[in-house]
Symmetry: C2
Subunit: 262 residues, 2 copies
Amino acid sequence: MTTEDERKSRMARDVELLWGLDTTPARRGPKPRLSREAVVRAAIGVADAEGIEAVSMQRVARELGYTTMSLYRHVDSKEDMLVLMLDTATDGVPPAPREDGDWRAGLEEWCNGALEMHRAHPWSVFVAFSAPPSGPNGLRWMEAGLRELVASGLDVGESLQMLTILSAVVRDTVRLEIEMTRAAQSTGSTLVESENDYSQSLRRVVTAERFPTIDRMLREGVLGEAPAPGRTGGPAEELDFGIRRILDGIESYVRAERGTGG
Amino acid sequence: MTTEDERKSRMARDVELLWGLDTTPARRGPKPRLSREAVVRAAIGVADAEGIEAVSMQRVARELGYTTMSLYRHVDSKEDMLVLMLDTATDGVPPAPREDGDWRAGLEEWCNGALEMHRAHPWSVFVAFSAPPSGPNGLRWMEAGLRELVASGLDVGESLQMLTILSAVVRDTVRLEIEMTRAAQSTGSTLVESENDYSQSLRRVVTAERFPTIDRMLREGVLGEAPAPGRTGGPAEELDFGIRRILDGIESYVRAERGTGG
DNA sequence: ACTTATTAGTATAAGCAATACACAGTTCTA
DNA sequence: TAGAACTGTGTATTGCTTATACTAATAAGT
């Protein structure tokens, strides 16, 4: 809200924004009927119900029964609103510290928690954050993940690096699944049908000479076909495998480091 | 262009779009002075020079010296244009097959190649594809990556899963670096200065009680401080470490599988 | 009572993707 | 060879978008 220092970095601004360090309680003027919190909550409501593309200042204002411009009294810009939405949506509780020191289990829990969060607020995977976590909720999740990574034996810098990777993998997998599901639904078919359709289309352009491995993939029916009953066949289905390989990688690295006295 | 089948899946549509299977040479009417290729090339030019947010139908048309609506004769929608841009921008040559069978080196080359591609067209990391690769260039890269992964001993499905992860990691890392650099530049500071600024801000809200690991991270100066000379200190700097851990994970998994007769 | 800060509303600018239609150019057919 | 059929580009326009500038009403401090 305050514009005191234009030279402040975006990341530093985010911290103030998300911790409410930028608002001083008004001493004069009418009592605000609207609030920043209400705006953000309404925006999340719209995003949950109709997707992030439905979130416009007009739409959120209409939801609240106010004019478009009144929102700008509580939020500097739509971008700020999105940043606030993201931290607010992350208000779930990250996994507690493992008593048994099983960092692998701890990180699998963390990834599943992140997966759940994104599934509860699908729009969250489309809001590209432009800075490391800065808000109370974001930092809580970051702390929970870093804690387990450090417990594995990585140093703090390495842990941060791997946490960035884990969250990127989870987020991007959910994103792809959502987009593919959405695309499938828009033609009135299921994800599996759509994948089969895609597979069929690829066969028209994929030759064994130019694309031997992809050709093999298509022949082996990796895409589509019939997934196990009750399963979607989507990307997130096999997320566990990839996550476990990353954890394998951490484990073998730490073990090797310990061996060489690292 | 043709709208024959509305029930066709998005992924199948992408294949036809990207391989030009949807255009039949016109038999009547004026010779087209504009072409799909020219439109896409102009759009890429704008995106390269001014970022993806500068790419509008108006802007691209202006670049070409035509009216906005003339573009729609060559491209069905802006979304289609973005899909075409992405495959076209991927026209670099992916690493050739390793003669020595060193799949780890092959995959590191692949990741570096992808990194280079994104650096050459920074906007590419902001264009969220909503389907697996479908175009000639996308498939070429996919083939090159899958080939090395299969060489590692993974089956084709597992390879696809890991390739998705590798490309997500590279893309997201570049994205974060670009956003942070952009944010830093907008306040006239460097990335390191900005990170230090962020670190400083975090100290105001991070306590050792609530966020012990983050607190440690800040004390150890993981963010910002002075990177090695000539280095930016950005996220992509340490990308190699994460990639190697993922490769470690693949290696240890394959080895274990082989041991159990997998 | 009067000044001053604050909230919400109004008016509006500048830009966005996309539809509908007019018109001119080109080729195939009768 | 005449004209129907079709195609490429331009014009007009709709209904969105974020955001700035300003007005009227409100409440607190002096």
